[in-house]
Subunit: 366 residues, 4 copies
């Protein structure tokens, strides 16, 4: 299937390049009856949008989203929802110098080889600007999940380079420009980013995404397990190189007697599994982490080649994020929400007689 | 979409429970003209099959696969290939005691809540036995990829509990029962497993999968990126809790100037990206790692509940793998092969005029 | 997507050739909790099976279906259902003479050109034998639809060559070998078929399929309208060359004032629409008709060519149905049931808060 | 899957209501390298657009399409193509009177029951206005098919009410406002339509669609046969109640010896099959016909009900087409082109080693 869609019953299809006239998409399968207007989407778009702090790219985009269909008299109608965000602050001239050059670590090379052509302006379709529409679509899913099922999705930056969150105070996350849950590390983060800027370099990051209030039973074995679909949607975010569910790679050194989450009549005693067993949600929090690589657009000189296969030295000017992980917070939330929404609809379709229970109350099936 | 299928143009649909009469599936989309017989599939099935060493379950299954359609006079015809493996060594009685009890860390709980019913015999559909058909289907993909495109997929155990491979001698992998690439650690592994057996416990593991000879250009942005689809297919394997592409979670602490793979007229100078940039293959080796949790079926006593929500103490008897990572080697290869095969066909369909180039020869597009 | 699957939430994937060892498939997405055993499937298979009367092929197949998974203790578990039917009465030798020859009007030619290879034994995958698995899968859908939603699907032969049903007595349909609803025409049909046999020729037919008890609201605009998906599934039956919903081609000469079905507080006053408006079920009977071409396997001499492009004269010996329409009755029912089942699940998933109402009670939404 | 998408490798997803701000969509999977600008799409949009003659609705829409992505420096890039058409001439007030009333024969009733809400302005999503985006997407497919494969798709009105085309002069089709191939009937058509207008009634029609230059081998048995997929895409057009391939319903009365298309070394001697055998294209013209019902929006008084289930008498004012078949010509072409394009890509992906041969040259496979 053509690759610009995700989801089965709740399906998001997108288009748009970094320096084209607009980004847009189709959100298909949102049930009728959800109160929805553009303000519901704008909040998350503003969290993602560039130019919000000195730690992100200086490009300024209003990212004003328009809903072009699927909503009538303030409510969704069950028909497809058209979304549009116009691009306003393209500086395509910045890119003419790299027209024939491949930036190391960038999709320039692979797009050119795959398609025989590339839109070199700002990465074209490979730009993270594409994710604005994911965030808008995700906001629809988030609103529906919260309103009709009490499911909430939130994310935070759990690590930036060497600096790890040691405590998770979710109330802090929206209070700082790093979406960081550990306020004791904010000064260290600020200092680290200033140094990085001087170096003209970039840094990787880790983002944690958590969904609470998820009922037992979401996920379709064996290939469309909830964790497999989450891995798909989270790995589809630009720059992501790893996905963990629950304890993730720490399980490699765990014994079965340590890893298993024991059950009591009052609920699970731990959540090493991250809320998914055998690909199906357990009713506990769904917990995932993603690793985001440092962006390749830096001003440290690197070796590369041009389209004539000649060696060149290059640096990438333009306006770039030194740590793409920061702005990935609402994107990660959006992708988890989209996947949960899709699986909620699938579960309702396939197992309608099964009560979608909220929370982990083992053994209570009537 | 119902969850027992994976892939678009190369599509595998499976059925079968651990203690049912048979496992089977449909492999749809294999191009016509591939020489194929059952022996081509049996090799990988034998690598996966239980009872091969003292480190795996004592269940004995011949895992003899039958090809029921899609092959005529020794060649694939382009029509769907039916596969069947009969179960022969079920001991369902072993399970009657746990009929009403949930094993901690096992899919018992989620299946029961999702479907309102569960086949408690050996995990039913949630059993890793289901993967036998994946391995058979993967063997078809592996043969096609190798024969027509020179692509090879191989995997090894890179870590078992605390014991890591420190050198990768691929020639060693098929020489030992652990599929371990570092022969200096074999004694340590053996000792570790003996201890574990005494404890009645299980252990996690890490598996590395590598595809070589992959052309530039596989992967469909933005949602069906090659890495996103690999994350999906690898995370769909039982017990997997994490997926990495290339450097994976190590990127969190990398700077852009370290991470990026520089290009020279002779090729890339490194492969931190694991062969995927912006979701499209670069022509370098595709490198992925997965984390497998320790199996929950152990004889260490654990707290749990029964379907009446009463507290119970339980141990899981029966015949189980103390480290499911070992037998996951051919499964991981199969899933990577299935995903690559699918993307190869998609790329041919969508970009037929683009030469599918082998190997990393930057800048050589005419 | 590979072409051997149909449906989204209720998904059927099949394999098998006319003269291979077996036919089989995977039925994915059947909700848990349906009582099901092989006898439930056998009834419709027996209605379709060859050798039932002197009007159908003399090939004798028991068509005994096995359920290999997805059912536990007499009930579906929500996991995928594996089906298998072994072929027992192949006479492949009958076909060796036509190995290099294309039968006019047959898929020989297109399969050979598409795939570069063909299984010439009995049409291989293009044989109507493939439909046995559709019938088995359809029987599952039929049982579910009837038991949980009161939906019933039935079909009859409405025309054979020049002989049309003039009255529809559904009680008659299962009483005669033609599945014909007008018993006054049975003698004429018998005579017609005897003549045809003498000529060695075949004849076309028309089949009507009706679903009753269908709730309002099935069908997903705009591309997956219920009628569009029914057209897809019915046209996928071998030999079908036309599909009509409701009045079908008669609408070409109707005026709006004649065609429209008026509404009263007691319900619709007519059903020209065939139970679908704007792609969504109205709560009235779903009515479709299909045209089946005369089979190409006849003993009247015809002009053709061989694979060396030389002119040949040919007749098709072997055991063939002079009117494939007769055995198409259960196949048409199966395809309509599969499509309705899929849309029922989709509607439940996407619009769960909307009562699935039975029958045409206009204006009663609370 | 959510219902607003069609196609697998060439995939069109749409949004938009009759009286919303805009219509739009995503065309995904168009190969890179096709020269494309808005003028390429505008031609077919102008053929479809309202207000072109006195035989169609008086609503005036410029239907100016914008390409928002996927094209760079005049060529497609292989990424998704965003399309947008703004609505300019909505007169939503016309509809306030029918807010609570169901028009007989219209989707009002089913939308309201399915979704529990309806956008009553001009039919909302069920309006034929939605097809403008299909036509724009189809124009992309048509250009690609013609330029890279020599495939051409054309359609004409073959019957309007009682008036049938008796000769097919394709050069005439674009010369008259009826897209009618038989110029001897133009006066009769004009007179018929004038009478109809006086009556305030509407009339059905039949449209023929033909694709020439199609290679042998398109179509994926068994469910995604080319004819089954064409039936799906053509039946998805508003008002269509029947689809025929080749001789269609005439086959019911044909004998096998009449129907079969004989082969000679120079090619087929006839095309009763309409260019498809066993679901795969033969290399002959693909020929399909569709029946379009008379629109329900007429000024002849009819019985209906309102949302309180009270009887009402109603007529539909507003601006409507008395024969929707006329404007369906470019829509039918678009849907056939979209389906052929999808199957061309699928065939290339799945059978790349098979030459896509143009034209019916039996037996010439080397």
């Amino acid at each position: 299937m053509a690759g610009n869609s995700i989801g089965q019953l709740f399906r998001v299809s997108t288009f748009g390049e970094s320096h084209g006239p607009a980004l847009g998409g189709v959100v298909d399968g949102c049930p009728a009856g959800l109160e929805l207007d553009e303000a519901d989407l704008q909040g998350d778009l503003d969290r993602r949008k560039p130019g919000q702090s000195r730690y992100t790219t200086a490009r300024r985009e209003e990212d004003k989203v328009k809903i072009l269909s699927g909503v009538f008299e303030g409510k969704t109608t069950g028909t497809s929802i058209g979304l549009l965000i116009e691009n306003t602050d393209q500086r395509s001239k910045d890119y003419s110098k790299i027209k024939d050059v491949f930036r190391p670590g960038h999709g320039d090379y692979t797009y050119w080889h795959k398609y025989g052509i590339r839109d070199y302006r700002g990465g074209g379709r490979s730009s993270a600007r594409e994710t604005a529409i994911r965030v808008a679509a995700g906001a629809i899913a988030k609103k529906y999940l919260k309103q009709f099922h009490g499911i909430e999705v939130k994310a935070c930056l759990s690590q930036l380079g060497p600096i790890k969150a040691e405590q998770y105070d979710w109330a802090q996350v929206e209070q700082n420009a790093f979406f960081f849950p550990d306020s004791s590390k904010l000064d260290a983060l600020d200092e680290y980013m200033r140094d990085l800027k001087k170096q003209g370099d970039s840094i990787g990051a880790k983002v944690k995404v958590v969904a609470s209030g998820v009922p037992v039973g979401l996920g379709e074995p064996v290939f469309d397990r909830l964790d497999a679909e989450l891995a798909h949607s989270l790995m589809s975010i630009n720059a992501v190189k790893g996905v963990e569910i629950g304890d993730g790679f720490a399980v490699v050194e765990q014994k079965g007697s340590e890893h298993r989450d024991e059950l009591t009549p009052e609920g699970f005693t731990s959540n090493h599994a991250g809320g998914v067993l055998a690909g199906i949600s357990t009713g506990q929090d769904i917990v995932a982490s993603i690793a985001l690589k440092p962006t390749s657009s830096i001003t440290v000189v690197g070796q590369s080649i041009n389209t004539s296969n000649e060696a060149v030295e290059m640096i990438t000017k333009g306006r770039h994020d030194p740590c793409v992980g920061i702005r990935a917070i609402p994107i990660a939330e959006a992708m988890m929400a989209i996947t949960l929404m899709d699986h909620l609809l699938r579960q309702r379709g396939q197992n309608p007689d099964v009560q979608l229970e909220h929370g982990p109350i083992p053994g209570q099936r009537a």
